[in-house]
């Protein structure tokens, strides 16, 4: 089961805060310091059942690729920068950071933090942890983050990162979950080590089965990590996960089969958390290939899909209809007033005729690897599209190798995005001409022009206008169908308490449930 790594992100506000920090160079307290809640209880063993985790999972931070690895990493490691529950960048091992010109970035390393082994976290450890992902022979999934980095050096308690060109987003990149701070020996980290400076100490770990951790008694965050022990279990089968929760063998599960959410709620044995965010499911069409090179065909398909039914049946209602817009309601410049595309077979037929076709037959390649429920979503799409004279022939692909062999290989397939809090980031990575994840191979001159202009536009209104025009273009001329925004849905035992604000940044409270939640 693959997660697509690195396609999620921190929120816009987080980035802004970071940007503010450029000038202020001040210290920003983690969110929890401010959002003081009822005093959490200490104690208990928190057991998490995840629909991820393979026996082939490795230890190498550069290769963490699924929710299991992510939660396990968050349980034992800290990073330079945390994304707090509000989606803001917050200091973690980096006490503060600044960049006078966007080219040189200075991170001040927190003092007095120690690894589980007892060794103090030093600047060298941080540099080695970053360098693990950098260099020609690096095999990290985020190697490209470091492509523009020309130098990483120590300056007292600071780590100085030099880029070949200014990048205001660099601090934001450093919050990536791969960048765990690990102890170094001779300037290199041992990628097979589980030693970290995070909230819990690894007791035992069997890849693909379970990890047991105990609370780090010396954890530097005194108001975090409320459980005595944490156990993370890989339970790949969704029925097994449900059963484990219902029979009290675990306290938290992810990925609930939408079909059963209602029944689980009715049982009244668990709390269901449904966290809306910018994550969305997409059907990219290769805009270079016939028939998708004709916008009328794309529009026909966009009107031939029943978005509300998708939300109801594929998400079990835990999500929202999207208007083929990768920018979500949580985004700052979200275009709420666009003409909504409802399910309209006549309109779809009209566009087909405009394209000079009476009927259309296309293959849609899906696998549940694309997103959970993708096969059903495809079936539903095919069924509704048939009413518009469009024959969608569903091709189920093996989950195994989906991202290699189908995504960006087949002209019409299923995929997902974690969403981007920053419009520019979303568009740059997914929609600009030639972007590496432009999975529809779409190119629009006006769009590209607006994208560059918007970056440097200071006038808020003009900027809004530009971004909204871009959304309009993507929605009506773009080559992806985005039927819905999906919530992160998880279920907990009834005695699990979460803070009022649960992060929408990543699943499971931005992987941080282990250190942010507690038992009643």
């Amino acid at each position: 089961m693959h997660n697509k790594p690195t396609r999620n992100s921190v929120t816009r506000r987080g980035l802004l805060k970071g940007a503010t920090a450029l000038g202020a160079a001040g210290l920003i307290l983690p969110a929890s310091y401010r959002a003081a809640q009822a005093t959490p209880n200490q104690g208990g063993t928190f057991r998490i059942g995840l629909g991820h985790g393979n026996s082939t999972d490795g230890y190498d931070p550069g290769l963490w690729d699924n929710l299991y690895a992510q939660v396990f990493a968050a349980s034992r490691h800290n990073q330079l920068i945390e994304v707090d529950a509000d989606g803001q960048l917050a200091p973690e091992i980096a006490e503060s950071w600044e960049s006078p010109d966007g080219k040189t970035w200075v991170f001040r390393i927190r003092e007095g933090v120690s690894f589980h082994s007892g060794k103090t976290v030093t600047v060298e450890d941080v540099i080695a942890s970053l360098n693990h992902h950098r260099g020609d022979d690096a095999t990290s999934a985020i190697k490209q983050f470091f492509d523009p980095v020309t130098d990483i050096s120590a300056d007292g308690q600071n780590v100085v990162v030099t880029l070949d060109a200014p990048n205001g987003d660099f601090a934001y990149l450093m919050s990536d979950y791969h960048l765990a701070i690990m102890p170094s020996v001779d300037g290199r980290i041992d990628p097979a080590s589980t030693d970290g400076c995070g909230p819990y100490v690894v007791e035992s770990y069997e890849p693909g089965v379970q990890a047991s951790l105990t609370r780090n008694p010396d954890y530097w965050k005194s108001d975090r990590a409320h459980f005595d022990r944490v156990e993370i279990l890989a339970i790949l089968d969704s029925a097994a996960r449900l059963n484990a929760l219902m029979t009290g063998q675990v306290d938290l599960i992810d990925q609930i089969d939408p079909a059963t959410i209602g029944m689980l709620e009715a049982r009244n044995v668990a709390n269901i958390l449904s966290i809306p965010g910018n994550a969305h499911y997409v059907f990219p069409m290769d805009s270079r290939a016939a028939p998708f090179n004709d916008n009328n065909v794309r529009l026909a398909l966009k009107y031939a899909i029943d978005r509300q039914e998708m939300v109801d049946k594929i998400l079990g209602g835990h999500g929202a209809v999207s208007n083929d817009n990768p920018i979500g309601p949580a985004n700052r410049y979200f275009h709420a007033d666009m003409e909504a595309k409802t399910f309209d077979p006549d309109r779809a037929r009209f566009h087909l005729r405009e394209a000079g076709m009476e009927s259309l037959s296309v293959d849609l390649h899906v696998a549940d690897a694309a997103f959970s429920g993708a096969v059903d979503a495809g079936a539903l799409f095919a069924e509704t599209a048939a009413q518009s004279g469009i024959n969608i022939n569903l091709v189920r692909e093996p989950n195994d190798g989906y991202w290699d062999n189908v995504w960006m290989q087949k002209p019409f397939c299923a995929s997902y995005w974690g969403g981007r809090a920053v419009e520019d980031h979303m568009f740059t990575t997914g929609y600009a001409t030639g972007a590496s994840w432009n999975d529809s191979f779409w190119s629009n001159e006006r769009f590209d022009e607006l994208l560059v202009m918007a970056r440097s536009e200071i006038n808020e209104d003009l900027r809004r206008e530009m971004y909204q025009e871009m959304q309009q273009i993507v929605s009506f001329e773009g080559s992806v169908i985005i039927p819905m925004n999906n919530n992160f849905v998880m279920a907990t035992a009834q005695n699990v308490v979460t803070p009022e604000q649960v992060s929408a940044n990543w699943n499971l409270d931005g992987f941080r449930c282990v250190e942010r939640w507690w038992f009643a």
Binding site: M263, D368, G378, E383, T384
Partner: protein, 306 residues
């Protein structure tokens, strides 16, 4: 508890039904066949009746099903009512219609797969037994090696390599099953090959093809038919196991194995939905085996009383 009562009632009802069915057969069939029908045990009558119903349902699916196979006709998981006799599935498709179409697809695919496995496996097995020597050794050792690889994982590998269309599914499962058929065909044929009539045919100068078709196959048929029945049923199970691992029949084609898999989580909440396709598979398996048992018993000539 309800399920139990339902089961008991169903069994109780099936006894007079099978009895009546057998009586009907005896009346309808020509004399010779009627004699055979009269002698068959009730279980076999039940089996034939069930198989007959399945075949009719499979052929007449479009006439019988109230809704099309793929049509989304309602909302999710609607309860049983007069419109949707067995409710709707997770996408709002009519459960009964999918069950009916499922008969066609499931039985059709299983039959094609099994038939292919038998043509290949049985022919090779008989040929190996007939030829003996190095050819037999080579084939048998190779088949041994293939059988030493867990079949489900092997199918998984092959399907990932060759894709998951219905055709490849049939070919892959047939290939894996053919190894099992080969073993049985070979051992049965080895028993036949030593018979004098084979020697006589060889001395007459008959070719291998004649020997296989006329001399060995008819005599190896009974155990092969029995195996056919079992294999036929195992194909459903293999398909549903493959669905479980993410590689089954292509949706939105209705197929019982995948239907069980798709709705399996519901069992957690005591929902009956997945029981229907699973029950359909089980009923057919039991029916086929009842008939096979009877045929084997007839072929063995073993005199059992009662």
């Amino acid at each position: 508890m309800n399920v139990l009562i339902f089961l008991v009632l169903a069994i109780a009802a099936s006894i007079p039904l099978s009895y009546a069915f057998r009586a009907g057969l005896v009346r309808v069939l020509p004399h010779e066949k009627a004699l055979v029908a009269r002698d068959m045990p009730l279980t076999a009558a039940f089996g034939i009746m069930v198989i007959g119903v399945y075949v009719i349902v499979a052929f007449a699916a479009p006439l019988l099903a109230p809704f099309p196979e793929r049509a989304v006709v309602g909302s999710q998981f609607q309860p049983w009512d007069s419109t949707y006799l067995l409710g709707t599935d997770r996408l709002g498709r009519d459960m009964l219609s999918r069950l009916i179409y499922g008969a066609r697809n499931t039985v059709g695919i299983a039959f094609a797969t099994t038939a292919l496995a038998f043509v290949v496996g049985a022919l090779l097995g008989i040929w190996a037994a007939l030829r003996g020597g190095w050819l037999d050794q080579l084939l048998s050792r190779f088949v041994d090696a293939l059988m030493a690889i867990p079949s489900l994982i092997f199918s998984l590998l092959l399907l990932t390599i060759f894709g998951t269309s219905v055709l490849t599914l049939i070919l892959v499962i047939a290939a894996v099953d053919a190894t099992r058929v080969y073993r049985i065909a070979r051992s049965v044929s080895q028993g036949v090959v030593v018979m004098d009539y084979i020697e006589a045919a060889r001395l007459r100068g008959e070719g291998n093809w004649y020997l296989i078709r006329h001399e060995i196959l008819p005599n190896a048929l009974a155990p092969l038919v029995a195996e056919f029945g079992l294999r036929f049923c195992f194909v459903f199970l293999t398909i549903s196991s493959l669905s479980f691992l993410g590689l089954g029949i292509q949706p939105p084609t209705a197929d019982w194995g995948s239907m069980v898999r798709d709705n399996a989580t519901l069992i957690t909440f005591g929902d009956m939905t997945p029981l229907m396709p699973a029950g359909a598979i089980a009923l057919l398996t039991v029916a086929v085996n009842f008939v096979v048992d009877w045929q084997l018993y007839r072929a063995s000539g073993l005199k059992e009383q009662g």
